[in-house]
Amino acid sequence: MAAGESGRIGPSIDIERARTRIDEEPEDKVVRRLMERFQATISEPAMLGKGRVRIRIDKKDLFDACRYLKDSLGFEHISMISAVEYDARFDIVYHITSYQSKLLLELITTTTKDDPSVDSVSSVWGGANWQERESYDLMGIVFKNHPKLERILLPKDTLYHPLRKDFR
């Protein structure tokens, strides 16, 4: 598949259809089961191409959702944790991979600028440990319950978080 084809933001998934279909695609299945479980906090599910799903989730259910994804849905690998700063909020994007069903889930959670903190998922995936430290270091997101939230790339005595837009 050429890279250009996979491109654009896909059509959003019909939730009702997803709930009722039995012979579902793996993407649908994941979304459906997540929706069943975390009905209140999940929004904007979207297909981003073959094997790629995007879901927004409220930050208070993030940890449980991740635990559920790891234990029940077979997403055993966290590819990337990235923090994006917008005008009034931080988006924290988790790219989570399932090796068996060959799926990539883009899980986005939002936090405010006053209190940029989310739950740490490093107890779910060990690979998230350093990535969360990096997000803390460069963007200043505080990950609650992280075992060792220290600066990792910059010297320990740095005062700023360089990737924020107000840093020059």
């Binding site: 050429a2 690998h77 990235s82 790219h95 090796y99 060990g126 990096e134 790339l153």
Partner: protein, 360 residues
Amino acid sequence: MAEMWINMGPQHPMTHGLWNLRIKVDGETITDAEPEVGYLHRGIEKLCEDRTYTQIIPITDRLCYGSSLTWSHLYCLTVEDLMGVEVPERAEYIRVMAIEMQRIASHLMWLAAYAADLGMMVGFIYGMRDREVFIDLLQALSGSRLTYNYPRIGGVAHDLPHNFDRDALRACEYMEKKLKEYEDIYDGSKVFMMRNEGIGLLKKEDALNLGVTGPPLRGSGVKYDLRKDMPYSVYEDIDFQPRSHPACDCYARYRVRMDEMWESCRIIRQTVKKMPKGKWRVVAPRNAPEGTGFGRVEDPRGEAVMYVVGNGTDRPYRLKIRSPIFVTVSAAPKMLIGYKVADVVAIMGGLDMCIGEADR
């Protein structure tokens, strides 16, 4: 002897780059380890926000000096995903060919450094010597030895030079001959096997949990290769096998990389055979739309991911890079504890450290 902390780095022959491994030793046995990175932090993600999309390609080249082409290729994939650019098929084949050459060069560099770590000078010299063959090919392709600046958004910078496919096939032949020789040198050496077998065990569950990717993961028995499992570019049309090894130790990682070099030779032969005619580049728009782009490739060192957020201008709003080595290093204590000081070089060398991409 009481327990003591030893700093290995930032200047240490073991590190192959610029990082610090603090190990706690009891005599010769490691009881604790703590990697520390960041000595090569350049702020690339911030720098990219001030540059236009085309200007970023040379910077992504400098992410990893061992395999710079994969990173600029990954960047172009990501931005093409964001912009919705369709790449001509010939460009895709040229890219795949170049990436596989880069992969062989990178693995040879790893092999050379690994041999030097284990004290086998002849391995270092031979690896560096044969790497030059592929460096020459890439130099003919792009004009530069190490940082190629070759892929473009929407294709590649130039077409293949004259007679390039003949040279590529010759290089493959040469490489396959040399690979047999390497297998004799390394696998035939009892001391090499003594230093590798059973060292640096990383069980399958640990490898999965710690987010290790690439040859270390495949060396732990997980047969997962992005080129096969989530194909990008034209890897779907190419016949090759992802290689894995169930032994979980340093030897398995060595074996996986050697097998990958064989597979890369196969891939290069196929791309030469299947190379279509046509355009090698389309003009990409200057400004990207609002939205996100995502790309990931199988780097020689693991899973490399980029995530770009566009805001309608000609500069990215945010570019996030996931480096495989950054995560793999964090798994180092798991592998190190319980082994001897001399095994540090085998274990850390077996991970193919390239600190440029980890620190960004």
